[in-house]
Amino acid sequence: MKRYATARIEHLQIAIPAGGEDAARAFYGTLLALREVPKPAELAPRGGLWFRSASIALHLGIDPDFHPAGKAHVAFACGEYASVLARLAAAGVAVANDALPVEGRAHCYVADPFGNRIELIDDAPSAANDDAVEPTIVAVATPPGQGAISVVRVSGSRARSIAARLTGAAALAPRHATRVALVDEAGRALDDALALSFPAPHSATGEDVVEFHLHGAPVLAREVVRAAIACGARQAAPGEFTRRAFLAGKLDLDGVGAIADLIAAESASAARAALANLGGALRARVAEMRSRLREPLERLAASIDFPDEVEEPARAPLADTLGELDGELARLQRDGEVGRLLREGVSLAIVGPPNAGKSSLLNTLLGEERAIVSDIPGTTRDSIEERFFIDGVAVRAIDTAGIRAHADKLEAMGIERSQRAFESARILLLVLDASLPLSTQGEELLARSEGRTRIVFFNKADLGTSAVRPVSGLSICGSVRWPQTMRELRAAIAQAGWGTEHPDLERAHLAFGEQFDAVARALEALRSARAALAADEALDLVGNDLRLVDAALAHLSPEAASEEMLAGIFARFCIGK
């Protein structure tokens, strides 16, 4: 082995003032989470502290003539940069962020309790550190809580060896469901399951893929994921399976969008809309719109390039066509909204004074459909959100009563969430006690919800109706105990959520945010073209807008736009000297 005269840094020493040990321990030990080790006995009398771990050796030495180091400093790479910063902030340590990342990594400066400068660098692995070999990934492939079967999918070069560990079977027959007794990494029994192996490249991701089909319980699925991770897999990032499938050439971009939708689809309706997208219904609609733009665009282009031979398009019919397209695009945008509604559901906040019957209302609404109580750690869902379905659309009900029930944990947090639910929900369901005079809180809620999409529900009408009064918007008087009232409430939620028209599930919906943007861009350019046309602008400038419309639409149904147009020009007009 090659030897160097000076091989490596053995340790770093920072000076601290006499008697600074406790403050140093709190900063370096608690906040920066460095491990303190006892100083060797022979050095202990000098005071100071040592921190050591596999890669850090930091000595704090007492300097009787202490001056803080303002420029010279030690820089630590932090694996949990954000949480270190949060701890420092909570402890009142001033953090000087540097907006300019160093080599793509965030960093900041802090001062230790004695004024020594310390730099902290985010050590999150950047793309550059990824090895060329993709790690094997694992995740639950079915939406949490839904369905009788959970699927855990493992993809990557180690998928088959992991499967062997978890099933005890030496090899699984490719593309056959094999019944296996699943065990975890320590050999503890997990479930009686089915396992399917898809060897590369004939799999969804193009890599070796193994799927485990488990009996319902989400807990069990999480346990299998944990076991796979223990055997060398890594938790898949959101969309990572799809990204791999895309890179392997298994999907085109449209497919990626539609698959992303399928994954996110919370309801059967959304799944169907996603499938319609996959089939290209959107493409057909867009192609139709583009074909209507094509004639005027081709004529305009031909009239510019062959001015002596082709007349420019007449303005009035062009204005009519653009008006029609405006309507069509606006409809597409609205359908996109419906798509979003189907995909994400509609949020409903149930608010009201205590004892108005909010909890029993929610429980009745949930009924047997009570699908998910989403308290699964690691999901982003709010733990007090409940879901039920009306006409196949997911309604995400935020039960502010539920917040109160958890209030013992952190009152402040509960109030804040309640507030946020009130502000952000698409629909407010205000529950009031009909049998008692309206409380101050009830009055206040009525006033505050004025102008919002709301349903006022006077509950407990079976006990009296003294509080009932005319209010703006939808209002219902009845009782959660009466099935008729519940039917009315569901109808009211549907009306407030997606109007009287039932969402047309067979129409194509815009899958991606990107597609939304393209439609918005097309609409903006189209309106600019209409304005220019109305203002008698030169037709080429109108055409400039129209080409942007076409380009935005082409984004939704990509074709070689300009070549296509040239072909159109030469087919339509006899040109040439």
Binding site: F246, A538, G543, N544, K577
Partner: protein, 623 residues
């Protein structure tokens, strides 16, 4: 002298058409010793087809050539016998100048201009062969046995490569009317492995100008004021301005075409294999493919002040001469016309421009540049633009400098080169405004803003042009910023009403207000030309800004350079067509890759993912 030493010529240019002349002019003006070889030096730039220079998109090309310091604009201005702006009402970005040339003057002026360049020598020679060693060009060998040596050779052979002329049953080898083709060079290129295609074009008959009745024709008057391509030209007419005439074909003309189709080399005789241009169909094509059109418009144009001929635009044909004359005599005002020269079709070899990189150098042989019709284009302007790029790049390479590259957002020249090398051609390529996605920026009025700095950088724009440019731009910029500040003392301009007295710029932004109406409030030293530029810049500022934003957004993709040795083969996600085309054409940037036909947006998304990976070309998915 039998041969030259290798250091005698920095650049050899083969061919004396618009491409060759522009290439030789650029290289020699940049100070690199240049040798122009052409069959007959007295016949350079004869304008063998139509007499027009400019037109929609082509006019912008000429302005761009001029802005870069090239020759075509100056030459055309000095020979113009008819000038007109096209598309005046359709918008500032598509306004374009078109001139008709006195053909003998053009030929004479071109030769005279070249003779003023001390670094240029012109020799009469038919090049038969390229001298190539170890993948690099070393010179050329001529039919008479002479050899000339240089490490940069620009081929600008036009329609001469393997040229064949067709008229009825007559087929004869030829590059142009009464000129021999270049057969040897065509074989030589094929032997070097170049991928060749066959194209076709044609020219109409010419008639005696004293034998027609103009009274039966519609008149198209020239502009009453001089309209010029070049800012270096003097603002005066080059000579007498002549009108053009329009007439229509009729059923008798069409009947003659149909009756004689069996004598057409294109149809009945089926002799022509090359593909002709869609935008310049022969009269045979027009009558057959657009049978529902009862008439087709023709353009009767003079070919010179003292030329006896009229050019019958729109009447290109390869039918036998007797049929051509009979057809001509069915036309109004031409009943007793005399045909001085019959039209013909010409078929010629081209080399696939996908063989070139974006400097127009071939990838197969270092130092060899192709330009003009050899690359499958048609048109004088397209040829000249490529000639300038190829000649300048050959000169820059000889000096060891960075090549000239013009982006699609900077000029029609950029669109032209990028289209050619990226997409290739399957018919003669003509520049059209619809090929340019950024045409709001690529206007005739701002070609100097866009390109003169480039021309200066490479040493093609001389001091006097540079000084004129800097002075004009300073005046214009001041006028534009004053227009934003200066309030007019009125609330009404023409039919337009304003709530408060508008600034000059606010007034100009109304579509109906023209700068001419505001003349009295403009600085006196602002020429009419600069006033028009002011109007355009103010009027379409919004469109320009939006376009510039789009360009900035696309810039990352345009600038993302793909390593020259990028391993496309390893990327399973690419479609096999995309993989094959990318590996063959090796586009320099991701933007160029996206414009290759058969490369889908999905392929580009995949490529961009791969380009962002730490190791280019490592397979995305390891198995």
């Amino acid at each position: 002298m039998e041969s030259m030493h290798s250091d005698d010529a920095g650049v050899i240019v083969v061919g004396g058409g618009h491409a060759g002349v522009e290439a030789a002019h650029a290289a020699a003006k940049m100070g690199v010793p240049t040798l122009l070889l052409t069959g007959d030096p007295s016949r350079i730039c004869t304008l063998p087809c139509n007499p027009s220079i400019g037109g929609s998109a082509k006019g912008q090309l000429v302005r761009e050539i001029d802005a870069l310091g090239g020759a075509m604009g100056v030459l055309a201005d000095a020979c113009s016998l008819h000038a007109r702006f096209l598309n005046e009402s359709k918008g500032p970005a598509v306004r374009a100048l078109r001139q008709l040339m006195d053909k003998p003057s053009y030929n004479r002026m071109a030769l005279r201009l070249l003779q003023t360049l001390p670094a240029l020598r012109i020799e009469a020679a038919m090049v038969e062969e390229l001298i190539v060693s170890a993948g690099e060009v070393r010179g050329v060998r001529c039919a008479d046995g002479r050899s000339f040596y240089a490490r940069r050779v620009v081929l600008a052979t036009g329609t001469f490569l393997g040229g064949k002329l067709f008229r009825g049953e007559e087929v004869q080898p030829g590059g142009r009317h009464a000129e021999a083709p270049a057969i040897g060079l065509s074989h030589a290129l094929r032997a070097l492995g170049f991928s060749m295609q066959r194209l076709k074009t044609g020219t109409p008959p010419r008639v005696d100008r004293t034998s027609v009745e103009y009274g039966a024709m519609r008149v198209q008057e020239p502009s009453a004021t001089p309209l010029l391509f070049s800012r270096r030209s003097e603002a005066r007419f080059a000579g007498e301005q002549l009108p053009c005439y329009l007439i229509d074909t009729n059923e008798r003309t069409h009947a003659l075409v149909r009756e004689n189709l069996h004598r057409s080399p294109l149809y009945g005789l089926d002799l022509i294999r090359g593909i002709g241009p869609r935008y310049c169909p022969s009269i045979e094509d027009k009558v057959i493919k657009f049978a529902h059109n009862p008439t087709h418009q023709l353009f009767i144009e003079p070919e010179g002040w003292d030329e006896p001929t009229l050019y019958v635009g729109g009447f290109s044909t390869s039918l036998p001469a007797d049929v051509q004359l009979a057809m001509l005599q069915t036309l109004p005002g031409m009943e007793r016309c005399e045909m001085l020269r019959a039209g013909y079709a010409v078929e010629y070899d081209m080399v696939a421009p996908t063989e070139l990189d974006d400097t127009l150098q071939t990838r197969r042989i270092a130092g060899l540049y192709h330009c003009g019709q050899l690359n499958g284009t048609s048109g004088y302007e397209e040829a000249a633009a490529q000639g300038l790029v190829a000649g300048a790049n050959a000169a820059l390479a000889a000096r060891g400098c960075e090549p000239l590259r013009i982006a699609r957002s900077e000029g029609y020249i950029g669109v032209l080169v990028d289209d050619l090398v990226g997409k290739g051609v399957d018919e003669p390529y003509r520049m059209l405004t619809s090929r340019a996605e950024h045409r709001v920026l690529l206007r005739h009025d701002n070609a100097d803003r866009r390109l003169t700095p480039h021309g200066r950088d490479i040493g093609l724009v001389d001091d006097s042009q540079w000084m004129v440019f800097t002075e004009e731009i300073a005046l214009l910029d001041r006028a534009v910023s004053d227009a934003e500040r200066m309030r007019l003392p009125v609330r009404e301009i023409g039919s337009e009403r304003f709530q408060a007295p508008p600034t000059l710029a606010e007034a100009l932004r109304r579509p109906q207000v023209r700068v001419a109406e505001l003349r009295s409030w403009l600085p006196e030293d602002l020429s009419a030309d600069l006033a028009e530029r002011l109007e355009i810049e103010v009027k379409i500022e919004g469109y320009v800004k939006r376009e510039e934003q789009a360009i900035v957004q696309a810039a990352r993709r345009e600038r993302l350079v793909i390593p020259a040795d990028f391993a496309y083969e390893g990327i399973g996600a690419l479609s096999s067509e995309a993989r094959e085309k990318l590996a063959r054409q090796r586009p320099r940037t991701l933007g160029a890759a996206g414009r290759i036909p058969g490369v889908a947006p999905t392929d580009i998304a995949i490529l961009s993912l791969h380009l962002q990976r730490p190791e280019h070309g490592s397979p995305a998915v390891t198995r």
